[in-house]
């Protein structure tokens, strides 16, 4: 299946911005599930200099600087990508048990396991705390397959928490999210990651998109009109597995990955430093993910 993604960000500043420097994580990376056919960014006003590279996590990062004074900035990222057919439902009820996973994380000398330990550590936006561990604990009995336990955790977050964009903002601590059981997909992903790390399982943050209009007969998913976020857990010997607690789903054909990292701060869709601009700005973001007919070529 082919998809066309348009991600538009518009800034309007209170006062002219003399210069700005920005980083965008908006081009989808290639994964087992997807291949990015092309991706480009249009800027208005034009960039003086721009460059794309791969970051520490292997994500595509687009750097650009605008040297001329401006009051508005529009960043339009357009990508076209191919989703590969997925094997039918993953069998999560077999495989590495929670206990085995913990043992391997601790004692295995396999390079992949050693490197995955990076995702057990605190990260800029995620510091696990006892209440999270207590919340998650019940799903993780020693003999249970890890992935089955994580699926349950993801489902519990879906059931226990209310999707409420008005409640949290970028800096709302997880303590409050847990206490009030409200948040958005970013909070739920962070919360699940924090739970897993608190218990000793490596987990990372995945940022991406959902198809805007679902196929006939399927409900529209939450988070489809903006960039979306979910998480992945590492099972030693088995690899990384994604879960979407906001929609209680196992990401497959409709979850398009842009980037992953330790948390949101590693993969912020757009970050920047401006000179001038006054003390306020207006921001609007629009995302459209459309299915292209199979015959159409880009």
């Amino acid at each position: 299946m082919r998809y066309h993604i348009t991600h538009t960000t518009h800034y309007q500043y209170a006062a002219p911005v003399g210069r700005c420097y920005n980083l965008a994580h908006t081009a989808p990376r290639d994964t087992e599930r997807q291949t990015c056919l092309h991706s480009r960014i249009h800027l208005k006003p034009d960039a003086g200099f721009s460059n794309e590279r791969l970051d520490y996590f292997g994500n595509r990062v687009f750097y650009f600087a605008i040297p001329d004074s401006h009051r508005e900035l529009t960043i339009t990222a357009e990508s076209e990508l191919l989703m590969h057919p997925q094997p039918t439902a993953l069998a999560l009820d077999f495989g590495t048990s929670c206990q085995e996973a913990l043992q391997q994380m601790r004692y295995s000398r396999l390079p992949d396991v050693l490197l995955a330990r990076e995702y057990l550590l605190n990260s800029p936006m995620i510091r696990p705390f006892e209440a999270l561990r207590a919340y998650a604990q019940s799903s993780f009995s020693p003999e249970r397959p890890l992935l089955a336990a994580v699926r349950e955790l993801s489902a519990r977050i879906y059931q226990d928490f209310k999707y409420d964009p008005g409640f949290t903002n970028l800096t709302t601590p997880l303590e409050q999210v847990l206490e009030h059981k409200r948040g958005v997909c970013q909070d739920f992903a962070h919360l699940a990651i924090a739970c897993l790390r608190a218990l000793g399982y490596p987990a990372r943050y995945v940022s991406g998109y959902l198809e805007t209009l679902p196929p006939p007969g399927q409900p529209k998913m939450i988070g489809a009109d903006a960039s979306h976020a979910w998480f992945a857990v590492y099972s030693p010997g088995e690899g990384w597995f994604e879960f979407d607690p906001t929609n209680n789903q196992i990401p497959a054909g409709q979850h398009i990955v842009t980037a992953w990292g330790r948390d949101y701060s590693d993969v912020t869709p757009l970050s920047g430093v401006i000179f001038g601009g006054g003390d306020s700005h207006q921001l609007s973001v629009g995302v459209t993910v459309a299915r292209l007919s199979e015959s159409r070529t880009s």
Binding site: Y11, R53, L170, S271, V273, I274, F275, L283
Partner: protein, 834 residues
């Protein structure tokens, strides 16, 4: 000099070790009096050079003067060649670790380094993945702190890789020692330091992305950094411009320095700002010390930063625990140079050991920049130990513990007496094509107390020049001590950062403003306390002039009878209250701040006078502490003299470059403005002849022309003559017209910016306008009094002059100085799921 501790100077049998024998003997021979005199001389040189180490505290205006011990630390060259081999190997090893951390991370993959040790360290900057400097080495400068044990072997305590300080201080120590003890230095055949810095220069140049005339700059966090003296000193010695983050910008994929001529491309940055602060776009978002986008340029290889960004990861003391294994893996052998035994609490066994032995250990955080300060278990109370254990248990991986090493002692000279103090040596290695080059010796610091365990400049220590001495005369003779410390290259006088030029301009203005205030106050004090009783009108006009000249409004202009009757408090206030803009103190403080920012351009004579001004402020505060004494004008005299000396020196000994021109522009502009204010406030309203004579005399005295006036006009005090002398007589270097003519000359000589045309520039117009109007004005009109007893023409003419001069100031400032506000983070950025 004996003590229970090991003393490096002595052999076990109590005899002096070779190397020390000659030096200690010579020092003792000099005798107490001569040593004291040399010590005084050393202190004077250090102070005049502005050698300070700023200790972080509330007070920013003064640093601690660098303290140098006259007894050098002595190491024989045989001994040194062993140490050097160990240091060279260690630098290579750390270079390989750095490459691995930001490259394949084999040390983690293969299980040699626990992953958490790398991944949880705040110095591991993921954004620095992919930076690669040209050449074999990524680690350009490696510094090591080490102590000697009882067996004579050195053990490393710490590695410094972020932005190692101390090499410049070592050079300053050498400068002073070679001047204070020239013959001892010459006879001791001390290995030179200059080679090390030459290697550094060559290495830095070789890092440039393009090789023809690469531009290298030294990046400092600013004048209040603790080692700012060193930044300025090194920049001068190496011949590089000293820049702050605001002097640099990223544009078009390159890094540029903002200079008067516009933007100049920068190829190499010798970095003294910690990497974490350097780029608000990718690192510390709210950093005011950063250059947004610089990391992208560094990753692209279009600017080389040394040490590279991310190098702070090597300062993790937990690495020391694994160094033998790392060395076996990377070099195939054990390291030659031992490190202090280190336990990392992230390992369960180590944690148990550490908690059981806390009182015997030194506890450090794995990251140096955090809040946790190194603690000596032995110095903690039981409660403190419990608290420390709790802290470690909460986040074990954040802490290491190290064996407490007792550093061996060496002789020091304390108030004329020899004593023994423990010593730490900081050594420096710089990468070169084939390997590393080590500075012979380094920076030795000794503890305050005989048993001192912590020896740092933050806590206070005595510094020593370190002499690596040959037993016989070396084959390569050091030509002279002076040659060792002569700057390696002429500074780039042509392209100063705009910030420096702006600070010179304001330095000139504040110096002149302070002088004007001082002179007026001096004259006013004399009159207020004088034998003749002043009329109320006259007295009030004088006091109001003080408020006008200082701009400390409302002050005496409020016309409060109480204030005018008892002016002492307000007068004291406009002298001493630094928080009041325009007060003498505030102008002097502002001037000193500008001096700090331009320190690298000042000669040592100038720095000495600036120190005198600092002393003058302190003295003034002491002498006026209890209120105005009798003859308070005398307390002001020394400062007037010092400011005059400063002005003379800047005129005589500063190169007539762009910097000098801006300094003079500042002075002339301010002097002209001050003159207009003074004349208007004293003579703007006409008073009876007797009063007018007093005011005229004040004006002439303040402007330093009273004697000229008396000689020329034989004591007949007439306004028209006074105005001639202070406004339009160009043989008087303090007259207004003289300032305008000088300003015109200076403006004409400024470097052109942008497209040049035959049309006059804005600043040329402003000054020509002012000059013409003043030249066309008639003295009789200026002196004329109208029906309201006002000198209206005088007031109007001088106010016009003020407007034009202020316009000139703004034009210069807009054109040549940088006014961009600091960066801000674009937050809140878009949030996912909304």
């Amino acid at each position: 000099m004996k003590s229970t501790l090991h003393n490096e100077a002595f052999a076990p049998d109590g005899s002096l070790n070779p190397g020390w024998r000659h030096i200690l003997g010579s020092l003792q021979q000099l005798g107490a009096a001569a040593l004291l005199e040399r010590d005084q001389k050393a202190k004077r040189i250090l102070r005049d050079d502005g050698a300070t180490y700023n200790v972080y505290s509330g007070n920013t205006s003064a640093g601690r003067v660098w303290e140098l011990d006259l007894v050098p630390a002595v190491i024989t060259s045989d001994d040194w060649s062993n140490i050097e081999a160990g240091l060279l190997e260690r630098a290579e090893l750390f270079n390989l670790i750095l490459k691995d951390c930001y490259g394949p991370r084999e040390l983690v993959r293969s299980g040699v380094l626990p992953p958490e040790l790398l991944f949880a360290h705040r110095g591991f900057l993921r954004a620095c993945q992919g930076i690669s400097l040209p050449g074999e080495h990524q680690l350009i400068i490696h510094a090591v702190d080490m102590v000697r044990g009882p067996n004579g072997a050195f053990t490393v305590l710490t590695d410094r890789t972020q932005a190692p300080s101390g090499a410049g201080y070592a050079l300053e120590n050498r400068t002073v020692m070679s001047r204070v003890l020239p013959s001892l230095f010459r006879d001791s055949h001390v290995q030179r330091l200059a080679h090390f810095f030459q290697r550094l220069r060559i290495k830095l140049a070789s890092l440039a992305p393009h090789q023809d005339e690469p531009r290298v700059v030294v990046l400092t966090p600013g004048a209040y950094n603790e080692t700012f003296f060193e930044h300025a000193f090194l920049a001068n010695y190496l011949g590089y411009p000293l820049v702050q983050s605001g002097d640099l910008m990223v544009n078009n994929g390159f890094v540029w320095m903002k200079s008067l001529e516009g933007l100049t491309r920068v190829d190499v940055i010798l970095r003294r700002t910690d990497d974490w602060y350097c780029d608000p776009l990718e690192l510390k978002g709210d950093s005011q010390l950063g250059i947004p986008g610089i990391l992208e340029v560094a990753r692209l290889g279009r600017v080389a930063i040394a040490n590279p960004m991310g190098a702070g990861v090597l300062e993790n003391p937990a690495l020391l625990k694994y160094l033998p294994q790392i060395s076996r893996q990377l070099l195939g052998r054990e390291p030659r140079l031992a490190s202090v035994r280190t336990y990392w609490c992230g390992e369960a066994n180590d944690l148990d050991f550490v908690l059981a032995h806390l009182p015997e250990l030194v506890i450090k955080a794995i990251y140096r920049g955090g809040e946790f300060r190194t603690q000596m278990g032995a110095e903690l109370t039981r409660d403190q130990l419990t608290a420390l254990a709790r802290m470690i248990n909460a986040e074990p991986a954040r802490f290491v513990a190290q064996e407490m090493l007792q550093a061996s002692s060496m002789p020091v000279l304390l108030s004329g007496e020899f004593a023994a103090r423990p010593a730490v040596l900081r050594s420096f290695a710089v990468a070169s094509d084939s390997g590393y080059a080590v500075m012979p010796g380094g920076l030795t610091r000794t503890g305050r107390e005989a048993g001192a365990r912590v020896i740092t400049n933050q806590t206070g220590s005595l510094n020593k020049d370190t002499w690596v001495v040959a037993r016989a005369a070396p084959t390569e003779r050091a030509a002279s001590a002076a040659a060792d410390v002569r700057p390696l290259a002429a500074a780039h006088m042509g392209s100063l950062p705009s910030r420096v030029v702006e600070n010179l301009f304001w330095f000139g203005r504040y110096a002149e403003r302070a002088e004007a205030v001082l002179r007026l106050l001096r004259a006013v004090f004399v009159l207020l306390d004088g034998a003749d009783v002043l009329t109320t009108n006259c007295r009030h006009t004088l006091l109001r002039a003080v408020s006008h000249v200082t701009t400390c409004y409302p002050g005496f202009c409020s016309d409060k009878a109480e204030l005018l009757a008892n002016p002492e408090d307000e007068l004291l206030d406009v002298i001493l209250d630094g928080a009041r803009f325009g007060s003498l103190r505030s102008s002097l403080d502002a001037m000193l701040v500008c001096a700090e920012e331009t320190k690298e351009l000042m000669s040592s004579d100038t720095l000495r006078i600036i120190n005198d001004i600092r002393d003058g402020i302190t003295q003034l505060e002491t002498s006026m502490h209890a209120g105005l004494a009798a003859a308070p004008e005398e307390a002001l005299d020394p400062l007037v003299t010092t400011l005059l000396a400063l002005s003379g020196l800047l005129h005589e000994s500063m190169i007539r470059g762009v910097g000098w021109r801006f300094l003079q522009l500042g002075r002339r502009l301010e002097r002209a403005l001050q003159t207009t204010t003074l004349v208007n406030s004293l003579l703007g309203s006409a008073l009876p002849d007797e009063d007018e004579a007093v005011l005229l005399q004040t004006m002439l005295l303040t402007l330093e022309v009273l004697i000229t006036y008396r000689r020329r006009y034989r004591g007949r005090l007439e306004v028209v003559h006074g105005l001639e002398l202070v406004l339009i007589d160009t043989s008087n270097p303090r007259s207004l017209l003289f300032q305008l003519e000088q300003l015109q000359k200076l403006v004409d000589e400024l470097p052109p910016i942008g497209i040049t045309s035959r049309e006059l520039l804005g600043e040329q117009r402003a000054i020509l306008d002012a000059l013409t109007r003043l030249r066309l004005s008639r003295l009789v009109d200026l002196a004329a009094v109208d029906a309201q007893r006002q000198r209206n023409t005088l007031l109007t003419t001088l106010n016009e002059q003020r407007t034009l001069l202020q316009a000139l100031g703004s034009l210069l400032s807009d054109k040549y100085f940088d006014h961009r506000a600091g960066p801000q983070q674009l937050v809140p950025a878009s949030r996912e799921g909304e």
